[in-house]
Amino acid sequence: MVQRYGDVAGGAEQHARELVRRLVPHFDVTVATTAARDYWTWENEFVPGETRVDGVPVMRFAVARPRGRDFKDRERRAFDETASLVDERAFIDSQGPVTPELLEYLSDSAATYAQILFFTYIYYPTVYGLPLAPERAVLVPTAHDEPALRLASYKPIFHAARAIAFNTEEERRLVHGRFGNARVPNDIVGVGVDVPADRSGPRFRAQHGITGPLFLYVGRVVESKGTDQLFSHWGGWVETRRALGAKLVVIGKAEMPIPQRDDVVHLGFVSEQEKYDALDAADAVIVPERYSSLSMVTLEAWACGKPVVCSAYCNVLRGMSRRSGGGLYYADHGEFSELLDLLVADPSLGKRLGAAGAAFVARTYTWPIVVEKYLDLFAEVRRRLH
C-alpha cells in the first residue's frame, strides 16, 4: 500500500517499487495505490483499475478529490500548538489523497493477505487504512522531524502496526521519542543500494572538461533541500580558492535559479551511467538537506567509496556519518570551507572516509540484508496471527 506507484518521482515511492521487485521472488505481491502521479495535485493521471508494473499486479484506485485548495491554511492551523482534533482531521483530509475506494478494498480484502506493507505514515491511505488491518500491518514510516509527526492523529498507526521497518537508527529514535511505542516490534531496515561496477570518473571529467577538485550535488534543486545555502557557501569558499579550479557539479531538476558561474556546472537530468561516472569522479558528495528520512544519494556515494559532506542540522545524516565514519558535517559557512579545504589538501582523507562509508553500506544497506529483515518482520506478523 503506497500513495503513488510506478513511474513517479519520490523517494518513498521509489523505495516501495525497488522493495517490491526484491520481494516478488519470495511472495505473491499485489500493490494497492492511487491513480495519481503527482503528489501535489493527486490528479488521476493513471487509469484506475488493475494493471501491471514490472510484472507485478497493481490495483489503482481513483482519488476522490484533489488536494484541498485550503491545504496551506489547514496545515498552518493543524501545526499550531493549540490545534484541536478537528483541525488535525481537516489537515489530513485536505492533504489527501482521499481514496475511499482503496479503504473499502482494504477493509474487505485485508484478511486475504498474509501481511500488508504500508509505505509512509503521513498520507490519508495509511492514516485510515492501517487501522483496518493492524494485525497484519508492517509500517514503513519514512518519518523525519517535521511538525506533522506531532499530531495525535498519527498515534494509532504507530501503536497499532504489528511491526515497523525504520530507515535509520535516527528515525527509530525520533519515532520512539515522539510516540513512546518502543513495544512495537521493529528493525532498522532501509533499502538496498546497488551500484554498477562500471563507473568511470575519468570518462566524466573528460566529457565535461573538469580537471580540478570536483564536488557533487545530486537531487532536486530546491530551497527545501538546502541548495540555496549550498550555493552561498560554495560561492564564499570558491571565491577565495580560485587557483584550485574547483567545480560544483549539480545533477537534478532545477526548481530554483542556479547561480550562473563557471565553477557551478548544472547538468539537469542525466543517465544512471553518467550519474555513477560523476560519483566516481567526485572528491566528495555534498548533501545540504536538513530534513531527511533516508538519503539515497548518501548511500550511493558511500557504496561508490566516496565521502559525504552534509549539514550538521540533519540528524539522520549527521548520525549516519558519525556511525559510519564516512562523512563530515558542517554547521555554518566557516565549517563548510574548512571541510572542503581538508578534503582538497589531503586526498587520502577522502579515500579513508569513502572506504568506511562503503563498509557501512555493505553491513546494512544491501538488498539481501534488507530482504532478510523483511522476512523476519513478516514472520513476526504470522507468529502473532496464529
Binding site: 494485525e135 495525535a152 497499532a160 502473532r384 496471527l385
Partner: protein, 389 residues
C-alpha cells in the same frame, strides 16, 4: 500514587448498567490509592443519551467527575440502520457511521483527551467499554497511556471496522472473565497486548428472610429461580421448554419455576411457573436465599453477576454449556452444573435438587475471588502491566 483518568460513557450512582457499575466501583477503589478523575458525558440513559447530569466538575466521594455534553441524542432511526450494518450488505463507510450514530457523540470529551495527551496531566487513562464512541475514538488519542477495560461480548459489533485497531492500541487490557479474553484474542489477534482478568468484587449480601419469602408467595417444595429480564432474548422460551421436559419426568410434582424480573414476552399461565415481575433488592436476596437452584439460560450473558450473587446466597447454578462465560464460571467455582440439551437439563436439575455441596463450593469460591482486596490487587496488577511504576 498515580494520576489516573477514567473515561466511561455514563457515570453516577443512579446509572444502571453492568459496565458502568464496574467502572464506578473501580474508580472508587482506585481513589483509595491514587489521584482519580472521571471524564464522562451528561447522559443517564444509554439509549437516548438525553442530558441529565449538570455539566462541569462534580465530586463523587474522592473521585472528581468531569461531565461533557452529548452533542445530539441517538438517531431515532438507529435500529434500522444498525440492522443493515450488522446483518445486511453494507460498506466500510456504513460501519464508521454506525459508531457515530450509536453515540454518545461527545466532541468536547475527545478534545479534552487531546489536551490531556499534550499536557501529560494523567499518568494513565483507563477506558471503559470498547463499544461506545468515547472509547473507540478517545483511546486512539492517548494510546501511549491507555488502559482498556472492554467488557466485550460475543456480538457482531466486535467485528466492525472502528474496533479493529482499538484492541491493539492500549498499554494493557483488563478483561472481566477469561472467556472475554479468549474471545477478543480470537477475533482481533491482539495477544501481544499485556492483559489480566479483573473479575468482580461484591459486597456481602444483606440479611434476608427466605422463609417469609416462601410464605408470602406460597412456595412449597423445590424452588428453581430465574432472575433477570424475562424475554426470548434471555433464553426464557428455551427455559420453559426445558422446564416442560423436566416436569414430564418423575417425582418432581411440587417443584416451581419462579421468574423474577421485568416481563418482555408472552408467558403461559400454569401453577408450576410463578411470574413475580420486577423485584426489590430485598426480595431479590430473599429469593436467591430461598431458591434451591438458580437457572440462567441466557446465551449472551457476559458478566454472570447473578451467578455470583446466587453463590453468595449458597445457591447452586444451572447454565447452558454454550454460554462460555457462565459455563466457565461454573467450571471454575464448582458452584453448579451445565446442560447441553433439554434432556440433560432434566438430569442436571434433578441432581442439584437432591441436595449437593455445589452451593457451598460456589460460596467459598465467590468469597475468595470476588473480595474487595482481591479486586484491588488485580487493579494494581493491571496498572503495573500498563507500565505504571
Amino acid at each position: 500514587m498515580s494520576r489516573l483518568l477514567l473515561v466511561v460513557q455514563r457515570y453516577g450512582e443512579e446509572v444502571v448498567g453492568g459496565s458502568e457499575a464496574h467502572a464506578r466501583a473501580a474508580a472508587q477503589r482506585l481513589a483509595e490509592r491514587h489521584d482519580v478523575e472521571v471524564a464522562t458525558t451528561d447522559a443517564l440513559d444509554y439509549w437516548t443519551w438525553a442530558p441529565h447530569f449538570p455539566l462541569g466538575v462534580a465530586q463523587d466521594g474522592a473521585v472528581t467527575v468531569r461531565r461533557f455534553p452529548v452533542r445530539a441524542p441517538r438517531d431515532p432511526h438507529f435500529k434500522e440502520f444498525e440492522e443493515r450494518v450488522l446483518l445486511g450488505r453494507h460498506t466500510l463507510q456504513d460501519e464508521l457511521e454506525w459508531l457515530t450514530r450509536q453515540g454518545p457523540d461527545c466532541p468536547q470529551l475527545l478534545e479534552f483527551l487531546h489536551d490531556v495527551a499534550r499536557s501529560g496531566e494523567y499518568d494513565r487513562v483507563i477506558f471503559y467499554t470498547y463499544i461506545y464512541l468515547p472509547t473507540a475514538q478517545g483511546l486512539p488519542i492517548v494510546p501511549e497511556r491507555a488502559v482498556l477495560i472492554p467488557t466485550a461480548h460475543r456480538e457482531r459489533a466486535l467485528h466492525l471496522a472502528p474496533y479493529r485497531a482499538l484492541f491493539h492500541l492500549p498499554r494493557a487490557i483488563g478483561y472481566l472473565t477469561p472467556e472475554e479474553r479468549d474471545l477478543v484474542h480470537e477475533v482481533l489477534h491482539n495477544e501481544s497486548v499485556p492483559s489480566t482478568v479483573l473479575g468482580f468484587a461484591l459486597d456481602a449480601p444483606p440479611p434476608s428472610d427466605a422463609v417469609a419469602f416462601r410464605e408470602r408467595h406460597a412456595l412449597h417444595g423445590p424452588m428453581v429461580l430465574y432472575l433477570g429480564q424475562v424475554s426470548e432474548g434471555k433464553g426464557i422460551n428455551e427455559l420453559l421448554r426445558c422446564w416442560d421436559a423436566y416436569r414430564a419426568g418423575d417425582g418432581v410434582a411440587d417443584a416451581t419455576l419462579v421468574l423474577a424480573g421485568t416481563v418482555r414476552m408472552e408467558l403461559p399461565e400454569r401453577p408450576d411457573v410463578r411470574v413475580l415481575g420486577p423485584v426489590s433488592d430485598e426480595d431479590k436476596w430473599a429469593a436467591l436465599t430461598a431458591a434451591d437452584v438458580l437457572v440462567q439460560p441466557s446465551h449472551l450473558e457476559s458478566l454472570g453477576i447473578s451467578l455470583l450473587e446466587a453463590w453468595q446466597a449458597e445457591t447452586p447454578a444451572l447454565v447452558p454449556e454454550w454460554n462460555a462465560v457462565t459455563a466457565g464460571q461454573v467450571r471454575r467455582s464448582g458452584g453448579g452444573e451445565t446442560y447441553g440439551s433439554d434432556a440433560d437439563f432434566t438430569v442436571k436439575l434433578a441432581g442439584l435438587l437432591l441436595g449437593t455441596d455445589h452451593g457451598a463450593r460456589g460460596k467459598r469460591w465467590v468469597e475468595r475471588e470476588c473480595s474487595w482486596p482481591a479486586f484491588d490487587e488485580r487493579l494494581e496488577e493491571l496498572l503495573e502491566l500498563a507500565g505504571v511504576a
